[in-house]
Protein backbone atom coordinates (compact mmCIF):
# COMPACT_ATOMS: atom_id res chain seq x y z
CA UNK A 1 0.00 0.00 0.00
CA UNK A 2 2.39 2.61 1.27
CA UNK A 3 4.92 1.45 -1.28
CA UNK A 4 2.81 3.04 -4.03
CA UNK A 5 2.84 6.42 -2.37
CA UNK A 6 6.50 6.45 -1.66
CA UNK A 7 7.54 5.74 -5.22
CA UNK A 8 9.59 8.53 -6.67
CA UNK A 9 7.02 11.18 -7.66
CA UNK A 10 9.59 13.07 -9.78
CA UNK A 11 8.11 12.31 -13.19
CA UNK A 12 4.49 12.23 -12.08
CA UNK A 13 2.45 15.32 -12.90
CA UNK A 14 0.40 16.98 -10.16
CA UNK A 15 -2.94 15.76 -11.51
CA UNK A 16 -1.83 12.18 -11.67
CA UNK A 17 -0.46 12.50 -8.22
CA UNK A 18 -3.77 13.78 -6.84
CA UNK A 19 -5.54 10.87 -8.49
CA UNK A 20 -3.11 8.50 -6.85
CA UNK A 21 -3.77 10.05 -3.47
CA UNK A 22 -7.53 9.75 -3.97
CA UNK A 23 -7.27 6.09 -4.99
CA UNK A 24 -5.04 5.45 -2.04
CA UNK A 25 -7.41 7.09 0.43
CA UNK A 26 -10.42 5.32 -1.09
CA UNK A 27 -8.54 2.03 -1.14
CA UNK A 28 -7.75 2.46 2.50
CA UNK A 29 -11.08 3.64 3.87
CA UNK A 30 -13.75 2.04 1.69
CA UNK A 31 -12.88 -1.51 2.84
CA UNK A 32 -12.86 -0.37 6.46
CA UNK A 33 -16.28 1.23 6.11
CA UNK A 34 -17.62 -1.92 4.44
CA UNK A 35 -16.10 -4.10 7.17
CA UNK A 36 -17.59 -1.88 9.80
CA UNK A 37 -21.08 -2.15 8.28
CA UNK A 38 -20.72 -5.91 8.03
CA UNK A 39 -19.57 -6.16 11.62
CA UNK A 40 -22.73 -4.35 12.70
CA UNK A 41 -24.89 -6.79 10.74
CA UNK A 42 -23.01 -9.70 12.31
CA UNK A 43 -23.28 -8.58 15.92
CA UNK A 44 -26.81 -7.21 15.55
CA UNK A 45 -28.53 -10.55 16.33
CA UNK A 46 -26.53 -10.86 19.54
CA UNK A 47 -27.29 -7.30 20.63
CA UNK A 48 -30.95 -7.82 19.72
CA UNK A 49 -30.99 -11.03 21.78
CA UNK A 50 -29.65 -9.22 24.82
CA UNK A 51 -31.91 -6.15 24.51
CA UNK A 52 -35.01 -8.18 23.82
CA UNK A 53 -34.32 -10.47 26.78
CA UNK A 54 -34.90 -7.38 28.94
CA UNK A 55 -38.10 -6.15 27.26
CA UNK A 56 -41.48 -6.50 28.91
CA UNK A 57 -42.94 -9.89 28.03
CA UNK A 58 -46.01 -8.73 26.14
CA UNK A 59 -44.17 -6.41 23.77
CA UNK A 60 -41.06 -8.50 23.40
CA UNK A 61 -42.01 -9.65 19.92
CA UNK A 62 -43.17 -6.45 18.28
CA UNK A 63 -41.67 -4.27 15.61
CA UNK A 64 -39.85 -1.96 15.46
CA UNK A 65 -37.19 -3.77 17.44
CA UNK A 66 -35.75 -1.90 20.38
CA UNK A 67 -31.99 -1.84 20.63
CA UNK A 68 -31.59 -0.24 24.02
CA UNK A 69 -32.73 -2.40 26.93
CA UNK A 70 -34.58 0.44 28.65
CA UNK A 71 -37.34 -1.72 30.17
CA UNK A 72 -34.85 -3.68 32.27
CA UNK A 73 -37.37 -6.45 32.77
CA UNK A 74 -35.12 -8.67 34.90
CA UNK A 75 -38.14 -10.81 35.80
CA UNK A 76 -37.76 -12.57 32.43
CA UNK A 77 -34.63 -14.15 33.81
CA UNK A 78 -36.46 -15.39 36.90
CA UNK A 79 -39.24 -16.77 34.75
CA UNK A 80 -36.82 -19.06 32.91
CA UNK A 81 -36.30 -20.93 36.18
CA UNK A 82 -40.07 -21.30 36.69
CA UNK A 83 -40.73 -22.68 33.22
CA UNK A 84 -37.93 -25.27 33.12
CA UNK A 85 -35.59 -26.61 35.84
CA UNK A 86 -32.90 -24.27 34.60
CA UNK A 87 -30.84 -24.34 37.80
CA UNK A 88 -30.53 -28.10 37.48
CA UNK A 89 -29.78 -27.76 33.80
CA UNK A 90 -26.96 -25.30 34.43
CA UNK A 91 -25.44 -27.74 36.92
CA UNK A 92 -25.91 -30.59 34.44
CA UNK A 93 -24.19 -28.66 31.67
CA UNK A 94 -21.32 -27.87 34.03
CA UNK A 95 -20.95 -31.49 35.15
CA UNK A 96 -21.15 -32.90 31.62
CA UNK A 97 -18.73 -30.36 30.20
CA UNK A 98 -16.15 -30.37 32.98
CA UNK A 99 -16.36 -34.14 33.37
CA UNK A 100 -15.65 -34.54 29.68
CA UNK A 101 -12.89 -31.94 29.59
CA UNK A 102 -11.03 -33.36 32.59
CA UNK A 103 -11.40 -36.90 31.28
CA UNK A 104 -10.09 -35.86 27.89
CA UNK A 105 -7.12 -34.00 29.37
CA UNK A 106 -6.08 -37.05 31.38
CA UNK A 107 -6.58 -39.71 28.72
CA UNK A 108 -5.29 -37.63 25.81
CA UNK A 109 -2.15 -36.43 27.57
CA UNK A 110 -1.28 -40.01 28.51
CA UNK A 111 -1.93 -41.27 25.00
CA UNK A 112 -0.34 -38.28 23.30
CA UNK A 113 2.82 -38.76 25.37
CA UNK A 114 2.93 -42.47 24.61
CA UNK A 115 2.66 -41.83 20.86
CA UNK A 116 5.19 -39.01 20.92
CA UNK A 117 7.86 -40.18 23.33
CA UNK A 118 7.60 -43.88 24.18
CA UNK A 119 8.76 -46.71 21.97
CA UNK A 120 6.89 -49.98 21.71
CA UNK A 121 5.86 -52.54 19.14
CA UNK A 122 2.88 -51.50 17.03
CA UNK A 123 3.00 -47.84 18.02
CA UNK A 124 2.73 -46.43 14.53
CA UNK A 125 -0.04 -48.82 13.55
CA UNK A 126 -2.05 -47.90 16.65
CA UNK A 127 -1.51 -44.23 15.96
CA UNK A 128 -2.78 -44.66 12.45
CA UNK A 129 -5.89 -46.46 13.77
CA UNK A 130 -6.57 -43.63 16.23
CA UNK A 131 -6.17 -41.05 13.46
CA UNK A 132 -8.53 -42.95 11.20
CA UNK A 133 -11.29 -42.82 13.80
CA UNK A 134 -11.26 -39.03 13.52
CA UNK A 135 -13.05 -39.54 10.22
CA UNK A 136 -16.01 -41.23 11.87
CA UNK A 137 -18.93 -38.86 12.47
CA UNK A 138 -21.08 -39.27 15.57
CA UNK A 139 -24.12 -40.23 13.47
CA UNK A 140 -22.33 -43.31 12.17
CA UNK A 141 -22.06 -44.75 15.67
CA UNK A 142 -24.92 -43.20 17.60
CA UNK A 143 -27.33 -46.14 17.30
CA UNK A 144 -24.94 -48.84 18.62
CA UNK A 145 -23.67 -46.49 21.31
CA UNK A 146 -27.23 -45.77 22.40
CA UNK A 147 -28.03 -49.49 22.59
CA UNK A 148 -24.83 -50.10 24.55
CA UNK A 149 -25.60 -47.31 27.01
CA UNK A 150 -29.15 -48.59 27.44
CA UNK A 151 -27.87 -52.09 28.19
CA UNK A 152 -25.48 -50.62 30.74
CA UNK A 153 -28.35 -48.70 32.35
CA UNK A 154 -26.70 -45.38 31.59
CA UNK A 155 -29.38 -43.82 29.39
CA UNK A 156 -30.88 -40.71 30.99
CA UNK A 157 -27.80 -40.19 33.16
CA UNK A 158 -25.06 -37.62 32.68
CA UNK A 159 -22.60 -40.49 32.28
CA UNK A 160 -24.18 -41.33 28.94
CA UNK A 161 -22.71 -38.09 27.61
CA UNK A 162 -19.43 -37.99 29.52
CA UNK A 163 -18.12 -41.54 29.12
CA UNK A 164 -18.30 -41.84 25.32
CA UNK A 165 -16.80 -38.36 24.90
CA UNK A 166 -13.68 -38.96 27.01
CA UNK A 167 -11.62 -40.98 24.52
CA UNK A 168 -10.59 -38.36 21.98
CA UNK A 169 -8.66 -39.05 18.82
CA UNK A 170 -8.43 -35.35 18.10
CA UNK A 171 -7.08 -34.52 21.58
CA UNK A 172 -4.58 -37.35 21.40
CA UNK A 173 -3.36 -36.14 18.04
CA UNK A 174 -3.18 -32.53 19.23
CA UNK A 175 -1.22 -33.28 22.40
CA UNK A 176 1.12 -35.64 20.56
CA UNK A 177 2.08 -32.69 18.38
CA UNK A 178 2.87 -30.62 21.47
CA UNK A 179 4.93 -33.38 23.09
CA UNK A 180 6.91 -33.75 19.86
CA UNK A 181 8.02 -30.12 19.98
CA UNK A 182 9.85 -30.63 23.27
CA UNK A 183 13.55 -31.30 22.76
CA UNK A 184 14.61 -34.82 23.59
CA UNK A 185 17.79 -33.60 25.33
CA UNK A 186 15.58 -32.65 28.23
CA UNK A 187 14.76 -36.28 28.76
CA UNK A 188 18.41 -37.28 28.91
CA UNK A 189 19.22 -34.65 31.50
CA UNK A 190 16.11 -35.67 33.43
CA UNK A 191 17.18 -39.30 33.51
CA UNK A 192 20.60 -38.42 34.76
CA UNK A 193 18.95 -36.67 37.68
CA UNK A 194 17.44 -40.03 38.58
CA UNK A 195 13.75 -39.44 37.95
CA UNK A 196 11.68 -42.50 37.06
CA UNK A 197 9.54 -42.85 33.96
CA UNK A 198 6.35 -41.61 35.58
CA UNK A 199 8.07 -38.56 37.03
CA UNK A 200 9.62 -37.87 33.65
CA UNK A 201 6.12 -37.65 32.18
CA UNK A 202 4.35 -35.96 35.05
CA UNK A 203 6.98 -33.58 36.40
CA UNK A 204 9.04 -32.75 33.34
CA UNK A 205 7.00 -33.16 30.17
CA UNK A 206 3.47 -32.35 31.28
CA UNK A 207 4.19 -28.82 32.59
CA UNK A 208 5.82 -28.01 29.25
CA UNK A 209 2.73 -28.84 27.20
CA UNK A 210 0.40 -26.62 29.24
CA UNK A 211 -0.47 -24.49 26.18
CA UNK A 212 -1.59 -27.67 24.42
CA UNK A 213 -3.70 -28.68 27.40
CA UNK A 214 -5.28 -25.22 27.39
CA UNK A 215 -6.08 -25.45 23.69
CA UNK A 216 -7.71 -28.86 24.11
CA UNK A 217 -9.62 -27.77 27.23
CA UNK A 218 -11.06 -24.67 25.60
CA UNK A 219 -12.02 -26.28 22.29
CA UNK A 220 -13.59 -29.18 24.11
CA UNK A 221 -15.41 -26.96 26.60
CA UNK A 222 -17.01 -24.96 23.80
CA UNK A 223 -17.94 -28.03 21.85
CA UNK A 224 -19.53 -29.98 24.68
CA UNK A 225 -21.22 -27.01 26.33
CA UNK A 226 -23.01 -26.42 23.02
CA UNK A 227 -23.86 -30.03 22.24
CA UNK A 228 -27.43 -30.85 21.24
CA UNK A 229 -27.65 -34.05 19.21
CA UNK A 230 -26.37 -36.58 21.76
CA UNK A 231 -28.26 -35.09 24.75
CA UNK A 232 -31.44 -35.13 22.69
CA UNK A 233 -31.06 -38.86 22.15
CA UNK A 234 -29.46 -40.05 25.40
CA UNK A 235 -31.56 -38.07 27.90
CA UNK A 236 -35.26 -38.31 28.68
CA UNK A 237 -36.13 -36.43 31.86
CA UNK A 238 -35.77 -32.64 31.67
CA UNK A 239 -34.19 -32.69 35.14
CA UNK A 240 -31.20 -34.30 33.40
CA UNK A 241 -31.08 -31.96 30.41
CA UNK A 242 -28.19 -29.65 29.67
CA UNK A 243 -28.92 -25.99 28.91
CA UNK A 244 -29.12 -26.47 25.13
CA UNK A 245 -32.09 -28.81 25.52
CA UNK A 246 -33.54 -26.53 28.20
CA UNK A 247 -33.63 -23.62 25.75
CA UNK A 248 -35.18 -25.80 23.09
CA UNK A 249 -37.92 -26.85 25.51
CA UNK A 250 -38.41 -23.29 26.67
CA UNK A 251 -38.89 -22.14 23.08
CA UNK A 252 -41.55 -24.82 22.62
CA UNK A 253 -43.44 -23.67 25.72
CA UNK A 254 -43.39 -19.99 24.96
CA UNK A 255 -44.14 -20.18 21.22
CA UNK A 256 -44.12 -16.59 20.02
CA UNK A 257 -45.74 -15.23 23.19
CA UNK A 258 -43.00 -13.91 25.41
CA UNK A 259 -39.84 -14.51 23.50
CA UNK A 260 -38.04 -12.36 26.08
CA UNK A 261 -38.01 -15.31 28.48
CA UNK A 262 -36.51 -17.63 25.86
CA UNK A 263 -33.86 -15.09 24.97
CA UNK A 264 -33.06 -14.64 28.66
CA UNK A 265 -32.28 -18.36 28.69
CA UNK A 266 -30.08 -17.95 25.61
CA UNK A 267 -28.17 -15.08 27.22
CA UNK A 268 -27.53 -17.13 30.36
CA UNK A 269 -26.32 -20.08 28.29
CA UNK A 270 -23.73 -17.82 26.66
CA UNK A 271 -22.13 -16.57 29.87
CA UNK A 272 -19.63 -19.41 30.42
CA UNK A 273 -18.43 -19.57 26.81
CA UNK A 274 -17.96 -15.81 26.74
CA UNK A 275 -15.94 -15.92 29.96
CA UNK A 276 -13.80 -18.69 28.54
CA UNK A 277 -13.41 -16.74 25.32
CA UNK A 278 -12.24 -13.63 27.17
CA UNK A 279 -9.80 -15.59 29.30
CA UNK A 280 -8.40 -17.86 26.64
CA UNK A 281 -9.06 -16.54 23.15
CA UNK A 282 -5.38 -16.90 22.39
CA UNK A 283 -5.69 -20.67 22.91
CA UNK A 284 -9.01 -20.87 21.11
CA UNK A 285 -7.56 -19.23 18.04
CA UNK A 286 -4.38 -21.27 18.28
CA UNK A 287 -6.54 -24.38 18.40
CA UNK A 288 -8.28 -23.42 15.18
CA UNK A 289 -4.96 -22.69 13.50
CA UNK A 290 -3.39 -25.93 14.73
CA UNK A 291 -5.86 -28.02 12.83
CA UNK A 292 -4.93 -26.30 9.60
CA UNK A 293 -1.19 -26.54 9.89
CA UNK A 294 -1.14 -30.30 9.61
CA UNK A 295 -2.87 -29.85 6.21
Amino acid sequence: MTANLMRDPGDVSAGQHRLQVITFVAGKYVPIILLFMLSIVIIAPMVWTFSTSLRKGKDSFTVPPKWLPTDLAIENYAEVFEKVPFDRQIVNSMLITWGTVVGQLVSASLAGYAFARLDFAGRDLLFWVVLATMMIPIQAVVIPVFIFLRNMGLVDTLWSLILPAVPTAFGTFLLRQYFLTIPIELEESGLIDGVNQWQLFYRIYLPLVKPGLAVLAILSFNFHWNEFFRPLIFLIDNENFPITLGIFQLQGYMMTGSIAVVLAGVVMSLVPVIIIFLLGQRYLIEGIMRGAIKG
Binding site: V63, P64, S107, P137, V166, P167, F201, I247, A292
Partner: protein, 316 residues
Protein backbone atom coordinates in the same frame (compact mmCIF):
# COMPACT_ATOMS: atom_id res chain seq x y z
CA UNK B 1 6.00 -47.18 39.42
CA UNK B 2 9.18 -48.12 41.19
CA UNK B 3 12.27 -46.04 40.84
CA UNK B 4 15.21 -47.37 38.91
CA UNK B 5 16.97 -48.07 42.18
CA UNK B 6 14.26 -50.59 43.04
CA UNK B 7 15.98 -52.90 40.57
CA UNK B 8 18.09 -54.26 43.35
CA UNK B 9 15.14 -56.20 44.78
CA UNK B 10 15.89 -58.85 42.15
CA UNK B 11 14.11 -62.01 43.29
CA UNK B 12 11.23 -62.85 40.89
CA UNK B 13 12.23 -63.59 37.29
CA UNK B 14 9.85 -61.29 35.45
CA UNK B 15 10.19 -58.54 38.00
CA UNK B 16 13.92 -58.76 37.69
CA UNK B 17 13.68 -58.72 33.92
CA UNK B 18 11.57 -55.59 34.06
CA UNK B 19 13.32 -53.66 36.77
CA UNK B 20 16.89 -54.27 35.62
CA UNK B 21 18.90 -51.11 36.04
CA UNK B 22 20.18 -51.28 32.47
CA UNK B 23 19.27 -49.69 29.17
CA UNK B 24 17.34 -52.83 28.24
CA UNK B 25 15.38 -52.73 31.47
CA UNK B 26 14.53 -49.13 30.88
CA UNK B 27 13.45 -49.83 27.32
CA UNK B 28 11.11 -52.56 28.56
CA UNK B 29 9.66 -50.33 31.23
CA UNK B 30 9.03 -47.60 28.71
CA UNK B 31 7.29 -50.01 26.35
CA UNK B 32 4.97 -51.26 29.07
CA UNK B 33 4.31 -47.71 30.17
CA UNK B 34 3.39 -46.92 26.57
CA UNK B 35 0.69 -49.59 26.49
CA UNK B 36 -0.61 -48.54 29.90
CA UNK B 37 -0.83 -44.90 28.86
CA UNK B 38 -2.71 -45.81 25.69
CA UNK B 39 -5.13 -48.13 27.43
CA UNK B 40 -7.89 -45.63 28.39
CA UNK B 41 -7.93 -43.99 24.97
CA UNK B 42 -7.68 -47.18 22.93
CA UNK B 43 -10.29 -48.98 25.02
CA UNK B 44 -12.62 -45.98 24.83
CA UNK B 45 -12.18 -45.57 21.09
CA UNK B 46 -12.77 -49.25 20.60
CA UNK B 47 -16.00 -49.25 22.65
CA UNK B 48 -17.46 -45.96 21.50
CA UNK B 49 -16.16 -45.36 17.97
CA UNK B 50 -14.26 -48.08 16.15
CA UNK B 51 -16.41 -50.97 17.36
CA UNK B 52 -19.78 -49.27 16.82
CA UNK B 53 -18.91 -48.41 13.20
CA UNK B 54 -18.83 -52.12 12.40
CA UNK B 55 -21.93 -52.71 14.51
CA UNK B 56 -23.72 -50.03 12.47
CA UNK B 57 -22.82 -51.84 9.26
CA UNK B 58 -24.04 -55.08 10.80
CA UNK B 59 -27.27 -53.62 12.18
CA UNK B 60 -28.12 -52.17 8.80
CA UNK B 61 -28.66 -55.76 7.58
CA UNK B 62 -31.35 -56.43 10.20
CA UNK B 63 -34.91 -55.41 10.66
CA UNK B 64 -35.15 -54.50 14.30
CA UNK B 65 -37.85 -52.42 15.89
CA UNK B 66 -39.31 -52.05 19.32
CA UNK B 67 -41.81 -54.88 18.91
CA UNK B 68 -39.75 -57.61 17.32
CA UNK B 69 -36.33 -59.13 17.93
CA UNK B 70 -33.72 -58.47 15.24
CA UNK B 71 -34.37 -60.26 12.00
CA UNK B 72 -31.69 -60.71 9.32
CA UNK B 73 -33.01 -59.19 6.09
CA UNK B 74 -29.85 -58.82 3.99
CA UNK B 75 -30.01 -55.62 1.96
CA UNK B 76 -33.74 -55.00 2.39
CA UNK B 77 -33.14 -51.81 4.40
CA UNK B 78 -31.04 -50.40 1.58
CA UNK B 79 -33.67 -51.34 -0.98
CA UNK B 80 -36.30 -49.59 1.11
CA UNK B 81 -34.03 -46.60 1.45
CA UNK B 82 -33.61 -46.33 -2.32
CA UNK B 83 -37.35 -46.14 -2.79
CA UNK B 84 -38.00 -43.72 0.09
CA UNK B 85 -38.85 -40.34 -1.40
CA UNK B 86 -38.53 -38.57 1.93
CA UNK B 87 -34.96 -39.80 2.25
CA UNK B 88 -34.10 -38.82 -1.31
CA UNK B 89 -35.42 -35.31 -0.64
CA UNK B 90 -33.57 -35.06 2.67
CA UNK B 91 -30.23 -36.14 1.21
CA UNK B 92 -30.82 -33.76 -1.70
CA UNK B 93 -31.48 -30.90 0.71
CA UNK B 94 -28.34 -31.79 2.66
CA UNK B 95 -26.25 -31.74 -0.50
CA UNK B 96 -27.65 -28.39 -1.62
CA UNK B 97 -27.16 -26.98 1.84
CA UNK B 98 -23.58 -28.25 1.99
CA UNK B 99 -22.53 -26.71 -1.31
CA UNK B 100 -24.13 -23.35 -0.56
CA UNK B 101 -23.02 -23.16 3.08
CA UNK B 102 -19.40 -24.09 2.42
CA UNK B 103 -19.12 -21.74 -0.57
CA UNK B 104 -20.60 -18.89 1.47
CA UNK B 105 -18.54 -19.31 4.59
CA UNK B 106 -15.27 -19.85 2.74
CA UNK B 107 -15.65 -16.92 0.33
CA UNK B 108 -17.00 -14.38 2.82
CA UNK B 109 -14.57 -15.53 5.50
CA UNK B 110 -11.75 -14.97 3.01
CA UNK B 111 -12.94 -11.46 2.14
CA UNK B 112 -13.32 -10.50 5.79
CA UNK B 113 -9.88 -11.86 6.65
CA UNK B 114 -8.25 -9.98 3.75
CA UNK B 115 -9.95 -6.79 4.84
CA UNK B 116 -8.97 -7.09 8.48
CA UNK B 117 -5.46 -8.22 7.60
CA UNK B 118 -4.72 -4.82 6.05
CA UNK B 119 -5.74 -2.99 9.19
CA UNK B 120 -2.71 -2.15 11.25
CA UNK B 121 -4.33 -0.30 14.11
CA UNK B 122 -4.48 -2.68 17.08
CA UNK B 123 -7.76 -1.57 18.63
CA UNK B 124 -9.62 -1.75 15.35
CA UNK B 125 -8.15 -5.18 14.55
CA UNK B 126 -9.23 -6.41 17.94
CA UNK B 127 -12.74 -5.06 17.45
CA UNK B 128 -13.21 -6.76 14.08
CA UNK B 129 -11.69 -10.01 15.23
CA UNK B 130 -14.01 -10.16 18.21
CA UNK B 131 -17.10 -9.09 16.26
CA UNK B 132 -16.65 -11.68 13.54
CA UNK B 133 -15.71 -14.43 15.97
CA UNK B 134 -18.45 -14.01 18.60
CA UNK B 135 -21.30 -15.89 16.86
CA UNK B 136 -19.12 -19.01 16.81
CA UNK B 137 -19.42 -19.19 20.59
CA UNK B 138 -23.18 -19.79 20.39
CA UNK B 139 -24.59 -23.29 20.31
CA UNK B 140 -26.39 -24.39 17.18
CA UNK B 141 -29.50 -24.67 19.35
CA UNK B 142 -29.24 -21.07 20.57
CA UNK B 143 -28.60 -19.85 17.03
CA UNK B 144 -31.64 -21.72 15.76
CA UNK B 145 -33.85 -20.29 18.50
CA UNK B 146 -32.64 -16.70 18.05
CA UNK B 147 -32.70 -16.86 14.24
CA UNK B 148 -36.13 -18.40 14.37
CA UNK B 149 -37.35 -15.09 15.79
CA UNK B 150 -35.16 -12.88 13.63
CA UNK B 151 -36.40 -14.55 10.44
CA UNK B 152 -40.05 -14.42 11.54
CA UNK B 153 -42.15 -13.19 8.65
CA UNK B 154 -44.35 -10.64 10.45
CA UNK B 155 -42.50 -9.77 13.65
CA UNK B 156 -38.89 -10.50 12.79
CA UNK B 157 -36.46 -7.58 12.87
CA UNK B 158 -34.95 -8.66 9.54
CA UNK B 159 -38.12 -8.27 7.53
CA UNK B 160 -38.81 -5.04 9.39
CA UNK B 161 -35.57 -3.44 8.19
CA UNK B 162 -35.91 -4.92 4.71
CA UNK B 163 -39.39 -3.41 4.69
CA UNK B 164 -37.94 0.02 5.39
CA UNK B 165 -35.83 -0.47 2.28
CA UNK B 166 -38.94 -1.34 0.31
CA UNK B 167 -38.55 -5.12 0.24
CA UNK B 168 -41.74 -7.11 0.63
CA UNK B 169 -42.00 -9.48 3.58
CA UNK B 170 -39.96 -12.57 2.76
CA UNK B 171 -41.38 -15.92 3.98
CA UNK B 172 -37.95 -17.06 5.25
CA UNK B 173 -39.17 -20.08 7.19
CA UNK B 174 -42.48 -20.86 5.61
CA UNK B 175 -41.70 -21.03 1.91
CA UNK B 176 -40.10 -24.11 0.40
CA UNK B 177 -38.13 -21.83 -1.93
CA UNK B 178 -36.58 -19.82 0.87
CA UNK B 179 -36.11 -22.14 3.80
CA UNK B 180 -32.80 -23.73 2.73
CA UNK B 181 -31.35 -20.31 1.96
CA UNK B 182 -32.42 -19.17 5.42
CA UNK B 183 -30.59 -22.08 7.01
CA UNK B 184 -27.53 -21.38 4.87
CA UNK B 185 -27.53 -17.76 6.04
CA UNK B 186 -27.85 -18.64 9.70
CA UNK B 187 -25.19 -21.31 9.67
CA UNK B 188 -22.85 -19.11 7.64
CA UNK B 189 -23.43 -16.34 10.16
CA UNK B 190 -22.13 -18.60 12.89
CA UNK B 191 -19.32 -20.35 10.99
CA UNK B 192 -17.84 -17.20 9.45
CA UNK B 193 -15.96 -16.78 12.73
CA UNK B 194 -14.14 -20.03 12.09
CA UNK B 195 -13.11 -19.44 8.48
CA UNK B 196 -12.28 -15.81 9.24
CA UNK B 197 -9.87 -16.63 12.09
CA UNK B 198 -8.35 -19.45 10.07
CA UNK B 199 -7.65 -17.24 7.03
CA UNK B 200 -6.49 -14.30 9.12
CA UNK B 201 -3.92 -16.56 10.74
CA UNK B 202 -2.91 -17.91 7.34
CA UNK B 203 -2.47 -14.41 5.92
CA UNK B 204 -0.25 -13.33 8.78
CA UNK B 205 1.96 -16.35 8.08
CA UNK B 206 2.56 -15.26 4.51
CA UNK B 207 5.89 -13.55 4.49
CA UNK B 208 5.98 -9.87 3.65
CA UNK B 209 8.68 -10.46 1.05
CA UNK B 210 6.45 -12.64 -1.07
CA UNK B 211 3.75 -9.99 -1.26
CA UNK B 212 6.28 -7.25 -1.90
CA UNK B 213 7.79 -9.31 -4.67
CA UNK B 214 4.33 -9.63 -6.17
CA UNK B 215 3.97 -5.86 -5.92
CA UNK B 216 7.20 -5.31 -7.79
CA UNK B 217 6.11 -7.73 -10.48
CA UNK B 218 3.00 -5.63 -10.90
CA UNK B 219 0.54 -8.15 -9.57
CA UNK B 220 -2.25 -6.21 -7.94
CA UNK B 221 -5.95 -6.36 -7.19
CA UNK B 222 -7.75 -9.40 -8.45
CA UNK B 223 -4.67 -10.84 -10.12
CA UNK B 224 -2.70 -10.74 -6.90
CA UNK B 225 -5.61 -12.34 -5.05
CA UNK B 226 -5.90 -15.09 -7.63
CA UNK B 227 -2.27 -15.91 -8.32
CA UNK B 228 -0.57 -15.02 -5.04
CA UNK B 229 -2.85 -14.83 -2.02
CA UNK B 230 -5.15 -17.76 -2.73
CA UNK B 231 -2.36 -20.23 -3.60
CA UNK B 232 -0.49 -19.21 -0.46
CA UNK B 233 -3.65 -19.70 1.60
CA UNK B 234 -4.53 -23.01 -0.05
CA UNK B 235 -3.72 -25.18 3.02
CA UNK B 236 -6.18 -23.15 5.09
CA UNK B 237 -8.75 -23.09 2.31
CA UNK B 238 -8.54 -26.87 2.02
CA UNK B 239 -8.93 -27.26 5.77
CA UNK B 240 -11.90 -24.88 5.85
CA UNK B 241 -13.51 -26.74 2.96
CA UNK B 242 -12.99 -30.21 4.46
CA UNK B 243 -14.18 -29.32 7.96
CA UNK B 244 -16.94 -27.18 6.45
CA UNK B 245 -18.25 -30.08 4.37
CA UNK B 246 -18.03 -32.54 7.26
CA UNK B 247 -19.93 -30.11 9.50
CA UNK B 248 -22.50 -29.14 6.88
CA UNK B 249 -23.41 -32.70 5.92
CA UNK B 250 -24.23 -33.27 9.60
CA UNK B 251 -26.56 -30.24 9.81
CA UNK B 252 -29.29 -31.03 12.30
CA UNK B 253 -30.30 -28.68 15.09
CA UNK B 254 -30.82 -25.59 12.94
CA UNK B 255 -33.66 -27.07 10.85
CA UNK B 256 -34.78 -29.39 13.65
CA UNK B 257 -35.41 -26.49 16.01
CA UNK B 258 -36.37 -23.74 13.60
CA UNK B 259 -38.60 -25.46 11.07
CA UNK B 260 -38.97 -29.09 12.22
CA UNK B 261 -37.90 -29.97 8.67
CA UNK B 262 -40.72 -28.06 7.04
CA UNK B 263 -42.51 -26.68 5.22
CA UNK B 264 -43.30 -30.20 4.03
CA UNK B 265 -39.87 -31.76 3.66
CA UNK B 266 -38.20 -28.64 2.32
CA UNK B 267 -35.66 -28.35 5.15
CA UNK B 268 -35.49 -31.97 6.24
CA UNK B 269 -31.88 -33.14 6.34
CA UNK B 270 -30.06 -36.49 6.29
CA UNK B 271 -29.37 -36.50 10.03
CA UNK B 272 -33.00 -35.61 10.71
CA UNK B 273 -34.28 -38.66 8.85
CA UNK B 274 -31.70 -40.78 10.65
CA UNK B 275 -32.90 -39.42 13.99
CA UNK B 276 -36.55 -39.96 13.08
CA UNK B 277 -36.02 -43.52 11.86
CA UNK B 278 -33.90 -44.68 14.77
CA UNK B 279 -35.21 -42.72 17.73
CA UNK B 280 -38.77 -41.73 16.91
CA UNK B 281 -39.92 -44.78 14.97
CA UNK B 282 -37.42 -46.99 16.86
CA UNK B 283 -36.24 -48.80 13.74
CA UNK B 284 -32.60 -49.47 14.55
CA UNK B 285 -31.89 -51.45 11.39
CA UNK B 286 -33.31 -48.91 9.01
CA UNK B 287 -31.72 -46.07 10.96
CA UNK B 288 -28.36 -47.83 10.72
CA UNK B 289 -28.71 -48.15 6.96
CA UNK B 290 -29.22 -44.37 6.77
CA UNK B 291 -26.23 -43.89 9.08
CA UNK B 292 -24.04 -46.07 6.86
CA UNK B 293 -25.02 -44.15 3.72
CA UNK B 294 -24.38 -40.84 5.49
CA UNK B 295 -20.99 -42.07 6.67
CA UNK B 296 -20.02 -43.17 3.17
CA UNK B 297 -21.10 -39.81 1.74
CA UNK B 298 -18.93 -37.93 4.26
CA UNK B 299 -16.02 -40.28 3.62
CA UNK B 300 -16.33 -39.89 -0.14
CA UNK B 301 -16.38 -36.10 0.15
CA UNK B 302 -13.34 -36.04 2.43
CA UNK B 303 -11.30 -38.42 0.32
CA UNK B 304 -12.24 -36.54 -2.86
CA UNK B 305 -11.18 -33.24 -1.36
CA UNK B 306 -7.92 -34.67 -0.10
CA UNK B 307 -7.20 -36.16 -3.48
CA UNK B 308 -8.01 -32.94 -5.30
CA UNK B 309 -5.88 -31.02 -2.86
CA UNK B 310 -2.77 -32.81 -4.06
CA UNK B 311 -3.16 -30.94 -7.30
CA UNK B 312 -3.61 -27.42 -6.04
CA UNK B 313 -2.65 -27.09 -2.40
CA UNK B 314 0.63 -25.30 -2.14
CA UNK B 315 2.73 -25.53 0.98
CA UNK B 316 5.01 -22.56 1.52
Amino acid sequence: MTTAKGAEVGGGGILHWLLQDTMDGMRRRRAILGYLFLLPTLLGIFIFTAGPVFVSFGLSLFRWNIFKPPDYVELANYQRLMGDVRIAISFGNTLKFTVLAVATQVSIGLLLAMGVHRITQTAMRYYFRTAFFLPLLMSGAAVAVVMGYIFHKEFGPLNYYLGLMGVQQIPWKTSADWVLITIVIMSAWRNLGFTFVLFLGGLSNISREVLDAADVDGAQGFRRLWSVTIPLLSPQILFAAVTGVIGAVQVFEEPFIMTRGGPGNASRTAVMVLYEAAFKNIEYGYGSAIAVVLFLVILAFTVAQMWMSRRWVFYQ
